[in-house]
């Protein structure tokens, strides 16, 4: 078995792992990052894309609120490219608890969060989609963040500084001798080949899978998995982030991002973070609840639903998962008898940088590295190949370029050939495999109204023509892509979306018969 020597092994390619990789790389620490699927495959890729001002947590969790305030405003400065400074509103409608409304501004101020009351007519003017039954509104500095871009930019800089990234590489076992992880055995999920990573320190940044990874080292973590489902609208409904002004509950946040808005979420405890998907019941519930705040949501077309799993730490005894702190947990497993192993989990997208800093501090302490954290002061560099996840970015670039030969592969979201070429290069650079799924993660392909019906086949054909797909890979890639897209549309198939799904099935099953070639 081939083996790789490194100072630090990071397990997990979500925003936490990516943030740690960058932090360590900036301190000159050599690291290897392994990810069993592809980047942001867990909660990092299935959230609201909300950069919290902290206002959401002022009642239930003032500690997290203050953390979010500090980190949110830092991220706006350090990663402006990933953030859309939309601002946010907290709104109450008739029937909401007026006592809570009255307390809210003082609670925000106590956490240092800038809050301004907005009178009802003004609120309705700046956000016309709001319910006419509005009774109160407050402005806070919430913002929207692109989690894919953020993760990719962190990884990009880490890799540029020498970090090695292995996707589709799953941890299968640890070799532990004398209370130390001597090596991690990793399986390449594409080839089945195994290799060993011998690291001075191992960090478990696998989010909702942290319990599974820790168990391989004989450590236990008190962690529960809370599923949250979200819905993407066909068009952008709001300018600012809109939060329901009430104690945290279901379906009370609508976050705009580029050309869409995202509505969510739910909180459902699940045992297994794999194989989760949004259900019809959850979706109907989210729509009805959201409509109390934004009535248009009852009529709007939804393009996609998705679900993520929040890892909540130290909480299995609490009955309401929403009351569990959203702060993070950094667990040094030296206490469990494994001296070079720690787990970082919980927390929020907004606080990922702080989580990475604290984790890197712990690791450096163990390794005797004296370099200090630089991410608090050094901006995150923008990287070319990370720009294409933003809704509306590709069409703007295409219109600027006016190159008639740059054929549009995805018409809904206007992703041309040249973007796909650029993404393919970037996927190859990072040991990945270009196919419909990996391109879909890195761009808007498959995310528009057709949900991959047309762009799926067009992109597959293009990949064959440039020798990136061969043999029967295209058929398998189409099947996998269609299945993956389906998970996100199945719960919202009524009206226009049902028509779209019928067209898709008429083509892929009725005409092409891809379901009969499932080999």
């Amino acid at each position: 078995m081939k083996s790789i020597e490194t100072q630090v092994l990071i397990i997990g390619g979500g925003i936490t792992g990516a943030g740690i990789a960058r932090d360590l790389a900036l301190r000159g620490v050599r690291c290897v990052l392994i990810e069993k699927h592809d980047i942001n495959a867990g909660a990092s890729g299935a959230n609201h894309g909300l950069l919290h001002s902290g206002a959401r947590y002022v009642t239930s969790d003032p500690g997290s609120a203050a953390e979010c305030r500090v980190e949110g405003s830092l991220l706006k400065k350090m990663a402006p490219d990933c953030v859309e400074e939309t601002g946010g509103l907290f709104v109450a409608v008739e029937g909401d608890d007026e006592g809570y409304v009255a307390e809210f501004p003082a609670l925000c101020r106590a956490c240092g969060i800038a809050v301004e009351p907005v009178d009802v007519p003004t609120a309705l003017e700046i956000e016309p989609a709001l319910s006419r039954r509005l009774i109160a509104a407050f402005q806070v500095p919430d913002a929207a963040v692109d989690p894919f871009k953020l993760t990719m930019q962190n990884l990009h800089q880490a890799v540029a500084l020498g970090c090695r990234l292995f996707r589709h590489s799953k941890l299968v076992d640890f070799t532990i001798t004398q209370g130390r992880i001597a090596s991690a055995i990793v399986s390449n999920e594409l080839t089945g080949e195994r290799f060993a990573v011998n690291a001075g320190y191992v960090i478990n940044a696998s989010g909702a899978w942290a319990r599974v990874v820790a168990r391989l080292a004989g450590c236990t973590i008190d962690l529960i998995c809370s599923k949250g489902s979200l819905l993407v609208t066909h068009e952008r409904i709001n300018h600012r982030v809109i939060n329901r002004l009430r104690p945290s509950s279901n379906a009370d946040i609508l976050v705009p991002g580029g050309t869409v808005s995202i509505l969510g979420t739910t909180s459902v405890r699940v045992e297994d973070p794999d194989h989760i998907f949004p259900t019809v019941k959850e979706i109907d519930f989210i729509v009805s609840e959201g409509a109390a705040m934004i009535p248009r949501l009852e009529q709007t077309r939804f393009i996609r639903a998705y679900a993520g799993v929040r890892p909540l730490v130290g909480s299995s005894k609490k009955s309401d998962d929403r009351s569990v702190s959203r702060s993070f947990a950094l667990i040094d497993h030296a206490d469990d008898g494994v001296v070079n192993f720690a787990t970082i989990t919980g927390g929020k997208l907004t606080t990922y940088r702080l989580m990475a800093e604290k984790t890197a501090d712990l690791i450096c302490g163990h390794l005797g590295v004296s370099a200090v954290c630089r991410t608090r002061h050094e901006p995150l560099p923008a990287a070319d190949a990370t720009r294409w996840t933003e809704a509306g970015y590709a069409p703007r670039q295409w219109a600027k370029k006016r190159d008639a030969g740059d054929i549009m592969l995805c018409e809904c979201e206007m992703v041309p050939k040249s973007v796909v070429d650029e993404l393919i290069d970037s996927i190859h650079e990072h040991n990945g495999r270009p196919d419909l799924t990996s391109l879909g993660i890195r761009s808007r392909i498959g995310k528009g109204a057709c949900q991959g019906t047309f762009c799926g086949l067009r992109t597959a054909a293009y990949l064959y023509d440039i020798n990136e797909l061969k043999g029967r890979e295209g058929l398998h890639s189409i099947q996998a892509f269609m299945r993956e897209r389906w998970r996100g549309v199945r719960p919202l198939l009524w009206d226009t979306s049902l028509i779209q799904a019928e067209l898709q099935e008429a083509l892929y099953c009725g005409l092409f018969g891809v379901e009969l070639n499932d080999d």
């Binding site: 043999g471 009206d495 028509i499």
Partner: protein, 430 residues
């Protein structure tokens, strides 16, 4: 509704898809004064292929060599299936008349009577179907004989890769090869659109230069037939293919492309022309937005609600299709029929509409929803009585079938159109 009728007729066919068009043809052939109304935009999503019955039972994925054996098994296993209500003799009669009509109007079809055939698709799969446009027929034969064959793709044409088809089908057709061609007068990076190219081939000189370019790419390759994406002309495709085949000295055939496609456009244009010739009055691109059953027929309003055309007819044939055709509409709770608010057979609640896997071999239960009829294909009310003695239904709106998975779309439309028109004939005392 008290509007004076602008048009009086025997039969109003509502829907301009395959079922509606077949019904209009069959009715006109029986001498009924027939009006057809509906939007044709969907027909261009048709592939031009005519499936009769390919897979049964759907869950097993069993592909049948004989569509008639499949139909017999279907009638046994699923007596409520609309195709089980039409006799085998009638199904054959209907298909023969419909494809004969298309052939007479310039869009020739071929089949192996009593046998399904297979043709390659752009996804690199093989499609099992029954009647095939003549322009694709040499492909059926080349596959059967496993002839060495060259698929020629086009630089700049989206959604069609000759390499994808050839490589994906190697296990079943090892003789496939692929090449790409640059169309004459086109820049290297220019995007190719199928329709202008198809139209350009009507000009002899364009055809000649294309044939020469094609011959150059074939060169000395040891192949017995040549395939090209389905864009070799519009109305006159078979003449064009024959002309080009003379230059390349090999059989030339088309492979279907991703819809909306040229074969769909050909079908739409051929149907329009042919039905007009048969004396059918076409109210195309106009939707019927109301139809009121009356004592001796129906009064229907067509077009825009501000200035509708009123059509009085002795009978109505409902061929409005499913969700895409807007014959059915679903909100978050329920599926409704859009014109008469007929009861719709459907799963109890929305979580049961679709399976969690898109490709689940059993198919999605929502696709078997639809309207229920008596044996004469008359839609039933909730008390299981015909809504009106002269209201009939045909095509994909009918319940208890999954045409997408069973590969029976055209067969379902044409056979039930035949049956519905025959029922009207019987009811009208013809």
């Amino acid at each position: 509704m008290t509007t004076d009728p602008n048009i009086d007729c025997d039969l109003l066919v509502i829907g301009a898809g395959m079922a509606g068009s077949a019904a209009a043809l069959f009715a006109a052939a029986l001498g009924f004064n027939t009006v057809q109304a509906g939007i044709t935009s969907q027909t261009i999503f048709a592939s031009g292929l005519m499936d009769l019955m390919g897979v049964h039972p759907v869950a097993s994925g069993r592909v049948w060599r004989s569509p008639h054996d499949a139909l017999a098994a279907l009638a046994e296993d699923e007596p409520r299936h609309p195709l089980a209500r039409v006799s085998p003799v009638e199904i054959d009669q209907a298909l023969k008349m419909f494809t004969g009509f298309l052939s007479d109007t310039g869009l020739s079809y071929r089949c192996r009577p009593g046998r399904n055939v297979r043709i390659p698709m752009p996804t690199g799969t093989l499609k099992t179907t029954y009647c095939v446009p003549l322009s694709m027929w040499p492909g059926v034969k080349a596959l059967e004989k496993q002839q060495p064959c060259l698929i020629v793709g086009v630089h700049g044409l989206r959604g069609f890769s000759a390499r994808q088809i050839s490589e994906s089908l190697q296990p079943v057709w090892p003789g496939l090869r692929h090449a790409n061609i640059r169309l004459p007068d086109r820049g290297y990076r220019e995007e190719i659109f199928a329709e202008p190219f198809a139209r350009s081939l009507a000009v002899k000189d364009n055809r000649r230069r294309f044939a020469e370019a094609l011959a150059a790419v074939i060169g000395q390759k040891p192949v017995d037939a040549v395939a090209f994406p389905a864009m070799l002309g519009l109305g006159n495709v078979n003449d064009i293919i024959a002309d080009i085949a003379k230059t390349i000295v090999k059989p030339l055939f088309e492979i279907p492309t991703m819809p909306p496609s040229i074969p769909g456009l050909r079908l739409k244009e051929t149907l329009e022309e042919g039905l007009r010739q048969k004396g059918v009055m076409l109210l195309r691109q106009q939707r019927v937005f109301a139809s009121q059953p009356q004592k001796d027929g129906f009064l229907s309003l067509v077009g825009s609600p501000e200035a509708p055309t009123a059509v009085r007819s002795r009978a109505v044939l409902l061929a409005t299709g499913r969700f895409l055709g807007k014959g059915l509409h679903a909100d978050r709770k329920k599926i409704r029929e859009t014109l008469f608010d007929l009861p719709v057979h459907q799963p109890e609640k929305r979580p049961d509409w679709h399976r969690t896997d898109f490709l689940d071999s059993r198919g999605h239960p929502v696709n078997r929803s639809g309207i229920e009829t008596d044996d004469a294909l008359r839609p039933l009310t909730s008390s299981k009585q015909p809504l009106h003695p002269h209201l009939f239904a045909a095509g994909s709106i009918l319940a208890h079938q999954d045409w997408m998975r069973a590969k029976c779309g055209a067969g379902l439309s044409i056979a039930t159109a035949w049956k519905a028109v025959q029922s009207f004939k019987a009811a009208a005392g013809f």
